[in-house]
């Protein structure tokens, strides 16, 4: 498995509270991504990073922010969690060789009550 660790694996939080999910990689890959998976929607891109301090929005970025201060860590923050952000969140990494496939972590299941 590609060296990707997501933490926490499960979290329950209340509406309005801030939440930060962490993705840690040991592959020294340049590209990192945050996706959410919801029934009927597949995997949708939230934000991605193409280097330290270089990030950009994906298709469902509203309500989320990210930070990448080190190559190995990519943080996803929900500033004020809402019930619509209940989902499974996946981090992915990709190397720079041609069209490299994404390698995913095992996900974080977030429930916002």
């Amino acid at each position: 498995d590609a060296g990707i660790t997501q933490s926490p694996r499960h979290k329950v939080t209340e509406t309005g509270t801030p939440v930060t999910l962490r993705c840690h990689q040991t592959e020294n890959h340049r590209y990192m991504y945050w996706y959410r998976q919801d029934p009927g929607h597949g995997l949708r891109l939230i934000h991605y990073s193409y280097g330290v301090k270089d990030t950009d929005k994906g298709e469902v970025s509203d309500g989320y922010s990210v930070s990448r201060s080190k190559t190995e860590d990519f943080l996803l923050t929900l500033e004020s969690a809402t019930s619509s952000q209940t989902s499974v969140y996946f981090c992915a990494i990709r190397g720079t060789g041609g069209v490299s496939p994404l390698h995913f972590g095992n996900g974080t299941r977030l429930t916002v009550t």
């Binding site: 597949g42 069209v99 496939p101 996900g107």
Partner: protein, 109 residues
Amino acid sequence: DQQVKQNSPSLSVQEGRISILNCDYTNSMFDYFLWYKKYPAEGPTFLISISSIKDKNEDGRFTVFLNKSAKHLSLHIVPSQPGDSAVYFCAVSGSRLTFGEGTQLTVNP
């Protein structure tokens, strides 16, 4: 604006038979196509891919077919095995990777 669609949420086949999973896309500029497999409580794992300059790519029991005129992608698994039971996502690569909704494949012993 759904750029990638997997119209079958689920598919059930008998062990040893062929499984065919389908995917349709809207943008003829996509240049690379991938299939991922996902087991419960795990992340998706890359399965097989195909470039837009090809119409078929085979890897063991898995074959991906690309019909560019129909904007259609399919994954054939033969023979199907119970361990193939998983959710399969197709994905298309343009400026970024876009995934379909997924198809739950169940292979019955």
